[in-house]
Subunit: 441 residues, 4 copies
């Protein structure tokens, strides 16, 4: 078990500026209190863990609790902030941008905020992208729309060039909104800043529609995504039932984790089988997927299958070799593969069936955030601003045990969060779909 | 110009039964009047046409007006009805089924109604499909769901076998809900019935998500379809703007006509180019589509393109040769083709761009009907019942100049309705997208 | 029957400017043709009417067909346009504004467009309201939002003061978007303009969420409104069924006509009784509404009732005496009245029931336009611009037999469109709800 | 601080039946493990609390963790279950019913499940309500609809009569889905069962659209409710901006707590002031609400206010004296009160404004559950079944630190959960709305 201090976030320097927020320092005044640095959220909520800590006199592992600080590091009137969105679209990007701008401008009084366009590319002179001044007026309605008003791009850029740009623009705080790769980029930028001895805070706002960032309970846009996925599954269920021995096969997002597929299946209730990257499954043999599918059709005459895009990579001989612009492994298309295997199997056996393959792809990620995600994005942004104003750097805003936390970027990118095949979520999927616990040979 | 009588609908025999509806025969009673057989809706609404008729003493072309008749042909207490849904899913199928059942049962008192499962297959003994008793209780909530509770299948079946089944089941009225092919099938069934001298009414309820049935202003489910398409285009617009020189290419339904693409583009307003089957367009050359796209990206840095699935078949050498189970020509995939041509063109020219290809396919057609389509389905069903109870056969329910009409099936399937490139709808698309009037070489 | 010429629209002067639209003058070029002034849409689609015309050698009544003209009156480069929205909110207002701005700016090249704020008040100096420059950028996203970016106000203002303002601002075309009262105001403005010998076009874009403007088949926002109403009725149905002898009573918009209530009931299918302004109904007595309601509860144990706000004014002794700021009669609250009568009746008889009264009021009208209304708003705006650019004045854009028309304002405000109790719409409501044809004493 | 044992749940007897679930007993098999009785979820996640526990050698307070048990109490083949829904509608009721039925029937093999109609009334013979057999077929589609297929009623019934009915029907497990009062009723039923020495498990599934049940982090339907509320607020914002000095005042649910109002305001971002039961606020005086409102209008010309129905009871002299059928205090109508005070204040000062009062009431609670609530309802039901099958009684299923828990009913009803005015949620509301921290005199 790791010691709690590993979860401490770097600090640019001593906080000497009085917060502009005018909050309270003691309970009973009817006003929210500043959060003391000592407030922390424990990671583990299992009683057994605490009994063990008690027995061994060990301090439980914990995260810094996010929130406003009484003393802050940056002087709002002299602070300039840059915001950049990187990687693929995700519902809520505009909500986060708007939340950052409003919190900085209206609550802290930071008036100079710029939007960097097209991801990290926007810092590099040769691309020639413009920047945008971000004011509350500029962002007033953006939270109602999907996409990102700043646009985005994939892939890293040279941290030195980025820090050159930050210096040229006199930026004090940089918020990068992006996934795994973006956060690693943010860490590299922070390292460059540190090397140059600059006082620029770098805050990462974790974005992953797949909900797979480590130590972060839920990420913005994820609920909107599985809500859309659920609706698509519902339609697919109609397709499956609309034909004799109808099969609807839906490929959903989820490169390394099947959270969208699992949650959508739990939400919509009609899915008969979920296949995710975390599970091994065999197609062939008496206990394989295809035999099960055949049996299901023979007894129920329809089947709805949800497959996460990263599932079944073990079925490909040459998986994991190609990479995309962001350096992510290019995954083999399990949707097409499954579709073709089903066809082969049933055509071969002259089995009457009707297969509909559905790949909603970009449809899900370009939608506006739903109400709960909108709320969440706003709180995420508010807490990111609190942390950066207080001089935290190299941090990302987390969410754990229903509280906002601040954790060092390396912790968040150490590994990906995945569904435990032995855990409660997957167990609920098994209970709800009624699918076999395993597809072996 | 055709003479009006060509639009007369066959009649099984003299109507001698008093309608159970208890409507009025004269105005002023505050109750709807039965529709006399003489009421007809004119086809043409252009004043010039009438001046011509006046000048030539010619009767304007017209349709029979749909509605309840004072005397009906079938005795409700002795009537048995079958309902079948054929072809692909379309929003509103369940609403039509429910509308038929409720109108028959609650208004006319016809209690014996059966649902034939899996399209025309359901009549053929060898498939062994069950039938369903349809009651108001059975259909109570079905209108809130997409799909068809009766399921469906593609392709024709032997009319003789179908009529055998109708005879065995003592069916007096058959409602077939389906498209072009289904209506031709219904006509063949009627011909067989006539040949055998049976008194069975066959009514076709026209279903075409593409809205392309001749002489029918709008078909059920079409509005729901273009509403979904519009939402998908809105997300695609976010994708296009989300990247530098972002292109979002969306393939929408529309085999022979571009109504969904055109209407969705008008609804969502952000589409920069619509490509439909009715238009000729060239990809290459100084006035071709690819040059235009390049120019658009260079000036605006994003582009949203909607292409109907049947567009651009002239670009394929081997188009039109394969056929599907329903006998429809298999179209070449213009979406994939365009995607690949764009890639080739821009990759070749080392032009920085980001292309997202979106094919919502089944997502659109499996949704439940929206409010306006729900309403429309119900009225369609009510009028189909009025016509069949009055002994009309070989008919389909039309909608023209905002009124429900009854027309002979051969009229509806004589040709497909298409967008006129010189007409007002396409002109509105040109005005709204700002795309060139033509893409020539 | 009125002679067609009564439907002619005033014209500011001879059209001598070549249209900037670059359309075609003959068919076969694959480009939309300019609409000749002679093109007209007939009003009546009943064949009998034409037989009568033929017999009497009479020209059928018709409307001018809307559309682009080859020669226009205003020189786009020298034209300045003002837009104002008046009266209550209605879904689609922003779509119409956006459609006007884009059509003027992008298609005709009119660059000077101003938005008048807060309705007719915005013209009157003493209110001190600002005006807004309207550009395609300014209106880019507004069609996705409900409300009106120009805001609104109720009631008339002095036409002379308004024309003073138009003169001061050098306005050539004024578009007023509003209902009955607003259109009368537009007519008064036109009269003042005529009196002063000015060449300013006044075009009215008819707005009525109630869909009750004369000679206009459907008005923008109406479908969105009844769609929302249908959703509320669906929830209300759940409330009715959620309790023993549950009654859900929903008051919907509809001052003089029950189109929203009737269409929503047809869309949602669960309503058991619709009460509208066009019908007489009695509450008490053996054939009255309350007796029917009691019977329904005793047999089915739940009831869902939709009442239009203007229904049952005959039940109030002092109805019709108060007026609001727009000069409209203040209606007595039939919702509250019915609620109280039901309570009295059933409490008195110790009848166990549960009554939920639901008044969605502003919720319905402040929503964004749905896809079909968005499309419609855009076409409405495009045609309004065509007409005004061609020098039409004192006109409103109509929609009749599925075509856009231009008609003189006095025609549109001559009377309100209402549901005919003997017509097909009401008949469909009766068929769908199963309610008695009449509630007499 | 309470000792953990206070949170133990009563147990009917020793579990001797092998679970039918066929789960695993050890990790590494790729199958979910049964939950040992010793697994518990800690209540507090504040590190400081654990340091204190460590210092004082105290066991942290914890809840029993929900989940499947290796040994269960009831023999599925001999078990009969009853389900009842009580109190007002809430999104998700049908999802919970469906989840219970499917989990019992499909996973545990319990085939005899009955639905009690109209709440606790359904047990009492004199009401004469029927019961419903609940099978997976019967509940197949119900989760897509709002309301409750079992219907509901308010108020308690005699526990003795209820237990008589349970005995007569040979019920082994009773699930009651309802709020505070319903849970107290369930406790009374359990007490009566205990008194009679019966072995009937009583499980309460907490239902509160207000999200105010003690020790339960979130309750089903709450997210759907604030999502609907957010949409209504968005429309109301359009109303506020649609008129000069426009005020939109929206009354939202929330009798004792303002969670819906607070969360909806955070989701929609446009609310300028939220008033909730947990806060004191003054209307009059230089720091009162009305002065603030006046100032807001003078500077911004529009204001959107959300008020929870239970807010401001301190402003009424006679508040808290009347009670409804369920024994809840009838609250004075703060919505109407505020509306009237605003009118008085501004009319008196001849201040030009436009006030729209919006009371969505039943509209929010009768909607179907959204995707996240659907998922949640299903898990809640699955865990309720696990607990009851394992012989727990007098329990309710909780949710704490993102895990499902089992807690004794008295704990859940000991007090209501409320928003802490000094807590982070309210602080976020203040930050987002920009409203004053207090409205004092």
């Amino acid at each position: 078990m790791q010691m709690s201090e590993d979860f401490n976030v770097p600090q640019l320097g001593k906080c000497t500026v009085n917060s502009t927020l005018d909050l309270s320092r003691k309970t009973g005044e009817g006003i929210f209190n500043y959060i003391p640095d000592s407030e922390r959220v424990v990671m583990n909520t299992n009683l057994g863990y605490y009994n063990e800590c008690l027995a061994n006199n060990r301090v439980p592992v914990s995260f810094e609790k996010a929130g406003p600080k009484e003393k802050i590091y940056f002087d709002p009137t002299k602070t300039k902030v840059a915001i950049v969105t990187c990687g693929g679209l995700c519902p809520g990007l505009n909500n986060v941008i708007r939340g950052l701008v409003n919190q900085l401008n209206k609550r802290y009084g930071v008036k100079r905020i710029v939007g960097i366009r097209y991801g990290y590319e926007g810092f590099i002179p040769e691309y020639g992208h413009d920047i945008i001044d971000l004011t509350p007026e500029e962002v007033e309605d953006i939270h109602m729309h999907g996409g990102s008003i700043l646009s985005s791009s994939r892939g890293p850029q040279d941290p030195a060039e980025i820090v050159d740009a930050l210096e040229r623009m006199n930026i004090n705080i940089l918020f990068t909104i992006g996934g795994d790769g973006t956060l690693r980029g943010a860490q590299a930028i922070m390292d460059e800043i540190t090397k140059r001895g600059l006082k620029i805070s770098v805050g990462g706002i974790p974005k992953t529609i797949d909900n797979d960032i480590n130590l972060i309970e839920k990420s913005f846009g994820f609920e909107t995504a599985f809500t859309s996925a659920a609706e698509i599954l519902r339609g697919a269920h109609n397709e499956a039932k609309g034909a004799y021995n109808g099969i609807a096969l839906v490929k959903l997002m989820g490169r390394d984790s099947g959270f969208i597929a699992a949650n959508a299946a739990l939400a919509v209730q009609e899915v008969n089988c979920v296949l995710i990257p975390e599970m091994n499954f065999e197609l062939f043999g008496p206990h394989g997927f295809l035999k099960w599918l055949r049996h299901r059709l023979e007894t129920k005459h329809h089947a709805l299958i949800a497959v996460a895009e990263g599932a079944g990579q073990h079925l490909f001989e040459d998986a994991g070799k190609e990479k995309d612009a962001s350096g992510n492994v290019k995954y083999k298309d399990i949707g097409i593969y499954l579709r073709d295997r089903i066809k082969e199997e049933f055509d071969h056996k002259s089995f009457s069936y009707s297969l509909k393959y559905i790949d909603p792809s970009y449809i899900i990620r370009s939608a506006p955030a739903n109400a709960n995600d909108s709320l969440f994005c706003n709180l995420l942004a508010q807490n990111a601003v609190h942390a950066a104003m207080a001089g935290r750097t190299g941090f990302t805003v987390g969410y754990w045990n229903a509280q906002f936390t601040i954790l060092p970027i390396p912790r968040a990118v150490a590994k990906r969060k995945r569904i435990s095949i032995e855990g409660v979520l997957w167990s609920n999927v098994i209970e709800t779909t009624g699918q076999p616990k395993k597809f072996s040979k």
